[in-house]
């Protein structure tokens, strides 16, 4: 029992976030009479929030370096507009258009990264300018009108599902199989990690705690895939998100690049004198943000099946809020990809739940604001208590 208490206290922030997410989910599950966790709605939830979650991944990197990016909503809209021009007006192949769009997004990131990293203009100002600039450019290239429809194959990014190669029926079998495969992978990975930790003589939690944790993970994972399987299976977008989360978590936790980003955010001068190329790191974090903003814009355009001048409005605020709810620090150096995703899901479940119970947008905005404030207040309270 003591061991659990210890474990809990050490990871209060992480578990706190998950507990908050579970609490909010259960709350709305009850308030909506069980609609929230219906297969159709879960699929919707993923589709609705994917573009914010992708932005949040890039944004948390920016925030860890101690900066902010206000332009991502406008950049997403601008890229959506360019993609529409390329695919609809110029009849480019969707694949080519997507690659070009991502490159342009990276270029936009490079543009902003240049001003922030090499000219030392605060990111708030650079990206505020970017927010206006790219919103303006969006309206100019679209001539104030929407462009639609996109080719079918492009729409599939957002609205498609993994095909069921393993025979139909009412259940999507491939989804179930993937769930089981993934469970095996997780168990194997965790087991290997535990074995090397023992080999290196590090502390490991007691075997039964380890088992319990794994069991819980496997159950939740398979429950999730089962629910998806009773509808259309796994959305394409979920696959993209999954790989982004895995890759970015790996980079941030296990690679030199991630370490440099954290060190830079924690103390720029010390990082610089330790040999971290601080300007270069900052520059590339913004390039990355640009590319992810482009991806987000593409997915949003594919989902709406049109490029509109108003697309992506306030996306930046949702993405930033997701990072802070997920435990990132406004002064830099602290934050995780995983936290930003949980933060984004908290916002997403609330949005979806409140819409389902028929709460107006006015109320939704206000409540989301309060939740952001309370989450950060809770975070600061926790930190002051542990010191």
């Amino acid at each position: 029992m003591q061991a659990i208490g210890e474990l809990f206290r050490k990871n209060i922030r992480q578990y706190g976030m998950i507990i908050a997410l579970v609490f909010i989910t259960v709350l709305f599950q009850i308030l909506t009479d069980g609609i929230l966790l219906k297969p159709l709605n879960i699929t919707n939830l993923i589709l609705q929030n994917s573009y914010i979650l992708i932005l949040a991944i890039g944004m948390v990197l920016v925030i860890i370096t101690g900066h902010i990016d206000l332009s991502v909503g406008s950049v997403a809209a601008f890229i959506g507009a360019l993609a529409a021009i390329m695919m609809v007006d110029m009849q480019l192949h969707p694949f080519v258009a997507v690659i070009l769009s991502l490159l342009i997004g990276a270029l936009i990131g490079a543009w902003q990264g240049f001003w922030v990293a090499y000219v030392n203009i605060p990111a708030f100002i650079v990206t505020l300018a970017g927010m206006l600039l790219f919103r303006g450019l969006t309206m100019i290239v679209l001539g104030g009108q929407s462009i639609a429809p996109f080719p079918k194959s492009f729409q599939k990014i957002s609205s498609g599902f993994l095909p069921d190669w393993l025979g139909g029926g009412s259940l999507h079998v491939l989804t179930l199989v993937l769930g089981i495969l993934l469970s095996l992978l997780v168990v194997w990975q965790e087991y290997r990690e535990r074995r090397t930790r023992i080999k290196y003589r590090f502390e490991v939690p007691a075997l039964w705690i380890f088992g319990l944790k794994l069991a819980a993970l496997v159950v939740v994972l398979n429950l999730f895939t089962y629910v998806l399987a009773t509808y259309h299976g796994i959305p394409n977008i979920l696959v993209i998100l999954f790989f982004l989360i895995v890759i970015y978590s790996f980079v941030m936790n296990r690679m030199i690049a991630g370490r440099h980003i954290y060190a830079l955010g924690g103390n720029e001068k010390a990082a610089k004198l330790s040999g971290v190329k601080t300007k270069k790191v900052t520059f590339w974090v913004f390039v990355n943000m640009g590319a992810l903003a482009a991806l987000s814009g593409l997915i949003f355009a594919a989902r709406l099946n049109s490029a509109t001048p108003k697309a992506g409005t306030n996306f930046e605020l949702d993405a930033i809020a997701a990072c802070f709810i997920g435990g990132a620090s406004a002064t830099g150096g602290i934050g995780t990809v995983y936290g930003a995703i949980i933060g984004g899901l908290v916002m997403g479940v609330m949005n979806n739940g409140m819409s389902l119970i028929g709460l107006g947008v006015d109320w939704q905005q206000g409540i989301k604001g309060l939740v952001l404030l309370l989450a950060v207040a809770f975070d600061i309270y926790n930190k002051s208590k542990t010191q």
Binding site: Y200, R254, M255, H260, A263, A270, A271, S274, G333, I334
Partner: protein
């Protein structure tokens, strides 16, 4: 009316898990300068926080008797009202406000919320005169040097009708002239009847001005020495602080065999980063042998740190000309990563701002400069990293519950050991150590010296920068002296003395 202005009796203060103060006694007489000595973590600052009401009455045990009255301060305001003013090590001035605004901040000369600027200016002038600061009351504080800012702090204290002035490490950031000036002012205030408590690591200063010294160790009062009752020497104070005779303040060098020249600098010239015509370093020539500890002495502003940083990947100023050689081969150390790759290391004088990521743990700080060694294709081996950090924790005796401890929570000495670990892990051949023992207590200093000796014994070349001449004399094999951005002399260990160095340090351009 007792002869004591302040008596603290049986003060005990406990933090969760730690007894910071245990039955501490402190008696300060009317109009005396009372020094408070002790190693870092001995409880000096905690005691002063109890006194000034930062820790309110009820959170500690014991009595505070000020001017014959038992006091129960609930906050700083209450202690200030009685005339107890504390000046912290980090000055609490607002840089963009003027001297007058700073002095009367929170105590504005106002009628019904409207500030009377004439009154403010006139009173500021009086106060500045008392502290001997000739500046306009409207000058913004950021234009003043640290020494003058310190004087503004004291003027601010005087404006509050101070009876007992507490100064926490007042001369830590000051150069010699400013320090002397400040100490003179404190003595003068004493003659005006204002008592002071000074917390300081600089024992020679304490010896000079203090009337009594109370020594704390591990949260307990060890003794109070009165200058008029017995001869007090530095050794006696140190003995009380560390609880043992420090016959040897510098460890014995076991071997002293310098090898071939490992690092050489020729004709180094660097200009100010903003003012292109201002030479900060001019025609510097120096060389370091393998296994040699080479000192750089100089007053504040002589250009020692500027030299160190400009050599380390040109991280200071505008490079104009000059060559650097490693093992006789010319190298161009154009940025920090290149310098590290050529096996240079630089331990900064300000470890909190420039040396450590304080929100990160010990492990991550130690490995930051050489992550490449722990990784393949950019992927880190975190298990190896833990082993490396554990190894350094043991070898350098970093006192910590674990390598997962955030470096911000460590004491100065342990922080410095983490910084040294970080640089030793880069396997340097030349180490530039800039004030490696600043703000570190006596016991930890000895440990740091031993580590430096060991590094020299391993054949590394060491450039040792320090403001404390005894330290330079005690540690170095050869000493370069700098003044106004030039090297004014090179002195061998056998020929060196404080007088010789001081003479070279004060030699101007001519």
């Amino acid at each position: 009316m007792s002869e004591h202005i302040l008596e603290m009796r049986g003060i005990t203060k406990t933090f969760p898990g730690v007894k910071a103060l245990s039955q501490v006694h402190l008696q300060v007489r009317e109009g005396e300068i009372h020094a408070l000595c002790g190693e870092n973590g001995a409880g000096k600052s905690t005691l002063m926080k109890v006194l000034s009401g930062v820790y309110p009455y009820g959170t500690y045990e014991g009595d505070i008797i000020f001017k014959g009255q038992t006091c129960e301060f609930k906050d700083i305001k209450q202690s200030e009202n009685l005339g107890i003013v504390i000046i912290h090590q980090e000055l609490a001035l607002i840089p963009y406000l003027s001297i007058a605004e700073n002095i009367f901040l929170g105590n504005e000369q106002a009628q019904r919320g409207v500030i009377n600027w004439h009154e403010t200016t006139v009173r500021t002038r009086e106060l500045l005169e008392r502290v001997g600061l000739r500046e306009s009351p409207t000058a913004p504080v950021l234009q003043l040097g640290v020494g003058k800012q310190q004087l503004v702090e004291i003027a601010k204290a005087l404006s509050k009708k101070v009876k007992l002035l507490i100064l926490d490490e007042p001369t830590a950031a000051l150069n010699e002239a400013d320090s002397e000036n400040l100490l003179r002012l404190i003595v003068e205030l004493k003659h005006q009847g204002i008592a002071s408590i000074i917390i300081s690591h600089k024992l020679n200063e304490i010896e000079k001005v203090a009337d009594a010294i109370t020594i704390l160790r591990d949260g307990q009062t060890i003794q109070t020495l009165r200058m008029d009752e017995e001869p007090v020497t530095e050794d006696l104070i140190i003995k009380g602080m560390v609880g043992r005779d420090l016959t040897q303040r510098y460890p014995e060098r076991t071997s002293r065999n310098a090898g071939e020249v490992i690092f050489e600098v020729k004709g180094w010239e660097v200009r100010h980063p903003q003012q292109a015509d201002r030479k900060m370093l001019d025609d510097i020539h120096l060389h370091i042998h393998r296994g040699e500890i080479v000192g750089i002495a100089g007053l504040m502003g002589a250009g020692r740190t500027e030299l160190a940083m400009s050599l380390f990947g040109r991280s200071y100023g505008r490079y104009v000309r000059g060559q650097t050689f490693l093992h006789g081969k010319e190298v161009h150390l154009t940025d920090i990563a290149t310098a590290i790759r050529h096996r240079l290391a630089y331990v900064t004088e300000d470890r909190k701002q420039y040396g450590l990521v304080l929100i990160d743990d010990i492990k991550r700080n130690i490995t930051l400069s050489n992550l490449g060694k722990l990784s393949r294709f950019g992927v880190l081996n975190e298990k190896e990293e833990v082993l490396v950090a554990e190894d350094y924790r043991r070898r350098l005796n970093i006192k910590t519950p674990g390598i997962w401890q955030k470096t911000g929570h460590l004491s100065g000495g342990n922080q410095q050991k983490v910084v040294l670990s970080k640089w030793i892990f880069t396997e340097p051949e030349v180490l530039i150590l800039d004030e490696p023992t600043r703000g570190i207590d006596v016991g930890a200093k000895y440990e740091i010296y031993s580590i430096i000796h060991q590094l020299a014994d391993e054949g590394k070349g060491i450039l040792f920068i320090s403001s404390e001449l005894p330290e330079i004399l005690g540690m170095c094999d050869r000493i370069y002296v700098m003044s106004e951005g030039r090297i004014t002399g090179e002195v061998k260990r056998e020929e060196a003395s404080q007088e010789v160095l001081m003479k070279l340090m004060t030699r101007g351009r001519g």
